[in-house]
């Protein structure tokens, strides 16, 4: 099972995942991009630019 590069938690990815799909780490919420499906590989997804304040 792949690990989150941010917090090292186990990340479950569906069997139907496709390359380019973005999944979230269940613990820290880091957004991870599926860079390969066989074997499964994850990398931090590019950040969105827009944000919103408190």
């Amino acid at each position: 099972m792949p690990k989150c590069p941010e917090c090292d938690a186990d990340v479950t990815v569906g069997g139907d995942a496709v390359k380019g799909e973005i999944v979230a780490c269940p613990d820290c919420g880091a957004e991870l991009e599926v860079t390969e499906t066989s074997p499964l590989a994850l990398a931090l997804a590019p950040e969105e630019e827009e944000d919103w304040g408190e």
Binding site: E21, G29, E31
Partner: protein
């Protein structure tokens, strides 16, 4: 005033977008990533840009427009108070402030019978942390991963986003702060220790991706805090004031924290924040915290009127009904791009398997303004006066944007 300001007349209300954008870009801080859209007018759940285009507002002032735009009662209260007395610090007592305390006491849990008034959500969080440290004589603050509590230095200690913290030194800048995975009950026992001053929690993570807490997680947080002598701070800056289908989300979860942080819609769009807190905090040292504008009569008058309108219009009921309608409609969209739809009341999100940016742009092109909540979630935060017909149009626009 700079020479260029003196030479430039104020733009008329109908100034073209390019003119407004140019003027803002000349002087803005540069901190905000802005859409090239100049919003100049609002009514209820509708907004208009400088070109006269109409939108359904699902940004809702990022949660500060629960009452909708252009509420007449709030506008009249602000105008009347501005003519009477706008400024009065807490060096003195004031009739409007006293009235607001009474109004808040009728909608808050009886245990939260003291209130510190300030000017924003981040300020409310800052104050709650200071109060917790003073009351417990402890320094450790525990928060949740994916949590968002503001970007001022103290509040930032609890905010999760590494993109906000790393440039300032990350964890090294805020020693003694810890983050636990959201909704992982087993993590609470280990993280909330005898040296913990407070645990701060959003009952629905907003920026963190529109993620409701489980009832078990909220209940266990309260239990562990009590067992360890730590104070439970619930951040309802975004979930408060009818957003989740109750005046406060704590009502839906059946918990009463030691402190409740409020802001955004508390004063109908006028900047205001508040911390409601219990006697567990004891007597706070005089002069240990203060704010010049906190509790000013203008904001208090706006808040009294806004809360009165929330109750008169029964916005909590509309948030439940329209929230169910929106969530049901979004769940009915058949698209392989959708991973999950979730929310509580009218704090709704649709998580995609891809970046949310193109869908948010697609919604805007179809007359619906929405916002993100992390890279893959489209967040809907409409004014709670939104109608059933408008919700149908939002669902239809979303389906078209995802087609």
């Amino acid at each position: 005033m700079r020479p260029s300001d003196a030479e430039a007349p104020a733009p008329p209300r109908s100034a073209a977008t390019s003119d407004i954008v140019a003027r803002e870009d000349t002087h803005t801080s540069g901190l905000y990533q802005k859409r090239r859209l100049a919003i100049v007018r609002g009514e209820g759940a509708r907004l208009w840009d400088a070109e006269g285009n109409e939108y359904i507002d699902c940004v809702g002032g990022q949660g500060s427009a629960n009452l909708g735009h252009g509420n007449a009662a709030v506008a009249e209260a602000i105008a009347a108070q501005a003519r009477t007395l706008a400024s009065c610090t807490e060096l003195f007592y004031n009739d409007r402030r006293a009235e607001l305390y009474s109004v808040l006491s009728r909608i808050l849990p009886p245990d939260l019978d003291r209130v510190f008034l300030c000017n924003s959500g981040a300020e409310a969080v800052e104050a709650a942390f200071k109060f917790a440290r003073m009351a417990t004589k402890r320094t450790r603050i525990v928060a949740t991963m994916r949590g968002f509590h503001g970007k001022t230095m103290g509040a930032l200690a609890a905010t999760w986003g590494p993109e906000y913290r790393d440039a300032l030194g990350g964890d090294a800048l805020f020693p003694g702060t810890a983050h636990v995975p959201f909704n992982k009950v087993e993590a609470l026992e280990a993280a909330i220790t005898p040296d913990t001053a407070a645990f701060v929690l959003e009952l629905v993570q907003g920026e963190g991706g529109v993620r409701p807490a489980t009832e078990e997680f909220a209940r266990e947080a309260a239990r562990v805090c009590k067992a360890r002598g730590a104070l439970l701070i619930v951040d309802e800056v975004q979930t408060g004031f009818c957003r989740t289908g109750a005046m406060f989300a704590i009502e839906r979860y059946g918990i009463v924290p030691d402190a409740l942080c409020l802001a955004k819609s508390i004063a109908g769009g006028v900047p205001m924040g508040a911390v409601a807190f219990s006697r567990a905090f004891g007597d706070l040292p005089k002069r240990s915290h203060s704010t010049t504008f906190g509790g000013n009569p203008l904001a208090c008058a706006a808040s009294v009127a806004a809360i009165g309108e929330m109750r008169r219009l029964d916005l909590a009921r509309n948030a439940r009904a329209r929230g169910d309608q929106l969530l049901g409609g979004l769940r009915g969209i058949e698209s392989p791009r959708v991973r999950e739809v979730r929310g509580l009341g009218l704090l709704c999100g649709i998580e995609l398997k891809e970046s949310a940016g193109p869908t948010i742009k697609g919604l805007q092109d179809r007359g619906v303004l929405a916002l993100g909540a992390g890279p893959t979630v489209v967040r809907y935060l409409p004014p709670l006066v939104i109608t059933a017909e408008q919700v149908d149009r939002v669902v239809a626009a979303t389906a078209a944007a995802l087609a």
